[in-house]
Amino acid sequence: MKYPKLPAMANRGVSRRGVLQGAAALGAAGLILPHGVTSARAQTRGGTFRIGLGHGSTTDSLDPGLWDNLYVQTFAAARHNQLIEVGADGQLVPEMATSWESADGVTWVFGIREGVTFHSGRTVTVDDVIASINHHRGEEATSAIKTLLSAISDVRADGQNLVITLEAANADLPYLMTDYHIPIMPATDGRIDPASTDGVGPYIVESYEPGVQASLTRNPNYWKENRAWFDRVEILSILDPAARLNALITGEVHLIDQVDPATIGMLEGRGVARILSIPANAHYVFPMDARAAPFSDNNVRLALKYALDRQAMVDTILGGHGAVSNDNPIGPANRYFFADMEQKGYDPDRARFHLREAGLESLDVTLKAADAAFSGAVDAASMFSENARAAGINITVDRVPNDGYWDNVWMKEPFVASYWGGRAVEDHMFTTAYATGADWNDSFWSNERFDELLLAARSEVNEDLRREMYHEMQQIVSFEGSVVIPMYNNFVMAVANGVGTPEQIGSNWNLDGFRCVERWWMA
């Protein structure tokens, strides 16, 4: 088992940075598509679907503002709907919002679906939606997305419509509304009850024991057709990887996440389950504090970037379920991904060369890692340090407790392991973590040219120019940036043969964008 808290932490990465993600193929706002993109065939109702997740803690909260791990996220998706769903293909799909549009990008109008009832029987009103959003706003709000929603200056009702006014124009508000933190919950005099499990989602909560299990039964009045095929859903928290595997093998559960890459081969050998490996923009990183020596010298950073065997890491740490990254936070799934950029390989001599450029014969650095950063982080670090020694770089791996990793190590120590959930929109990725002085710029890197380009690109309308700008930015981050990004990791899950899955699986989140509970079925 990982330290009980850890898997949750690993996923926090997603929880924060995944925001706004999900419109891979979508540029302009407001384009509406029919929902139910995943064509359902041969689907049958019935059965009890059991999920074993390497997440969940006895201290998990029901408060949407504090949802932070795959367990609560999946649990939430099973009982709640949001304004907008992200389809398996990445398209925005109307959910509680039937439509959304904005003339200027400042004032947004959402049509709210009528006649939908909560599990408790009440009909959903605009006020419920407003309360659900406001729960994350205002002084006393303690929500994880408080800062993200700070761009909203006003939320009000206009008949059956919801009107949201922003501080400044933002074409991406619809993505914001897909965030899992904002489920539609029943409101009483303008406030939602954070401790309530009442929602409009596909399943009704029967029992819930935090950190142990939740069982739900199908919502007979669910408004979507050909969704929510199972009669019952049970979500179990199984933190120990071996126990998870055993549960799947012995048929106790039908779906597990975080399959230990080392054992994937053997698991497939058993023939009881199949592996779903979904490429995504999520990536593992080793940020270096660019403010302080030795990392303040780009040659040192380059030396390190040439001193690791990325392919070996993908094979070993991810068991091949991922792709080599070129120190590029923008993933292949992104619109402006710079595919033709010169790929850095494992090249000790080149690394030595850069060391000498930096006026160094050898380099001694300490890399702090914990599996809290991402599962396999410590192994990855060990491999890094092994590779690097050939280049005269001595990396001392310091395995620190998972407990408190994000508070005491990340963005505190000069050289650490970390994880990013990736972004569908380049701008968001760069703004969150690479713009000078950004909240989560965990390498404290600053580059004038980069910042200029970032601003320009945001307002640039010419596709080609925009593409070039983003390519240049990726070039800069890759060769001057202060993060080593060895690989993009797939979402890897193992599914019992008895369960039917659509041929397209959502890549915006793990477990088919949390929606496996309503999209999958018993074959």
């Binding site: 071996a242 080392a262 698991l267 395995r399």
Partner: protein
């Protein structure tokens, strides 16, 4: 399975070897050491042999190991083959070499820890028993309080606070063990301090330190040694339980406790690799305790444990 057969065969071999050596000893040795060998049961001989082998391996690790401790020499989880007799681990380091270095690190750490725990625990325990009164009360109650906190969770707390460097690992486990040792030492000493020779020494006007060092300790040795045997082996277990909670020995240091942990998932698929480090621990435990039991028997069957 073939593995089981190999193991049984190996153990049988060790026993045979032990028997031969003992026979040899009886033939060659004389006097004191002779009588020592004479009343040595086969189990004890076996134990000594195993410990000896471990010691050699630990000391000569760099010579014996085919590959460096931390070097990645191939793909992960290779099956047993000519180049890697025991295959490779999860990031492709040579299993055999890791095991050999593991002997060095694990045994070293375990020994340091246990030794520390015993120095502190037994001295305090003897002192408390000798002095009695409020000091005894104070120490005992405090130790009780510490023992009332589950060892694993307590060390977890401490390690989270002080970090998981080898040093703090040793200190923390030693601290937790020391409480157990204290209890034992105290109860043993209470049986000794009532002896006439202690009274005689007091009449002579000896100080507490002399009484502990020369009068009590030598007579409390037997049960302490026995406890030492067990505690020594429990250190491995503590370490592996801690690495189960992500607080074990830091990579790339090879230590059996963590190695069991790292490869444990493989057992799910009936792969024997994780059995190897576990087996090393088990074998040592049994060996050490065989010797301890024998020593106890010689020191007129004092209680074990």
């Amino acid at each position: 399975m073939g593995f089981a057969a190999t193991v049984t065969l190996g153990l049988a071999g060790l026993f045979a070897l032990a028997w031969v050596i003992r026979a040899g000893g009886r033939a060659v040795l004389t006097g004191q050491s002779r009588s020592l060998v004479n009343d040595m049961p086969l189990t004890a001989a076996f134990g000594l042999l195993v410990i000896l082998i471990y010691a050699i391996v630990a000391i000569a690790a760099p010579v014996l190991a085919p590959f460096p401790e931390r070097e990645i020499v191939g793909s992960q989880f290779q099956a047993w083959n000519a180049e890697h007799p025991l295959g490779t681990d999860r990031i492709g380091r040579d299993m055999l070499s890791r095991l050999i270095y593991g002997a060095r690190n694990t045994v070293g750490i375990a020994f340091a820890t246990t030794a520390l725990a015993f120095v502190v625990g037994s001295i305090l325990g003897l002192w408390a028993a000798l002095t009695g009164g409020w000091l005894d009360q104070l120490l005992s109650r405090f130790v009780d309080a510490l023992m009332a906190i589950p060892a694993l969770i307590f060390s977890l707390l401490l390690l989270t606070i002080f970090g998981t460097s080898v040093l703090s690992l040793i200190l923390v486990i030693a601290a937790v063990d020391a409480t157990r040792v204290f209890r034992l030492a105290r109860s043993v000493a209470q049986g000794i301090v009532v002896m006439d020779y202690i009274e005689a020494a007091k009449l002579r006007g000896e100080g507490a330190w002399f009484l502990i060092r020369r009068e009590i300790l030598p007579n409390a040795m037997a049960p302490l040694v026995a406890e030492f045997g067990l505690r020594f082996c429990f250190v491995f277990l503590s370490i592996s339980s801690l690495s189960f909670l992500g607080l074990g020995i830091k990579p790339p240091t090879a230590d059996w406790g963590s190695m069991v942990r790292d490869n444990a998932t493989l057992i799910t698929f009936g792969d024997v690799t994780p059995l190897l480090p576990a087996g090393c621990i088990a074998l040592l435990t049994v060996a050490v305790n065989f010797v301890v039991d024998w020593q106890l028997h010689r020191a007129s069957g004092l209680k074990e444990g």
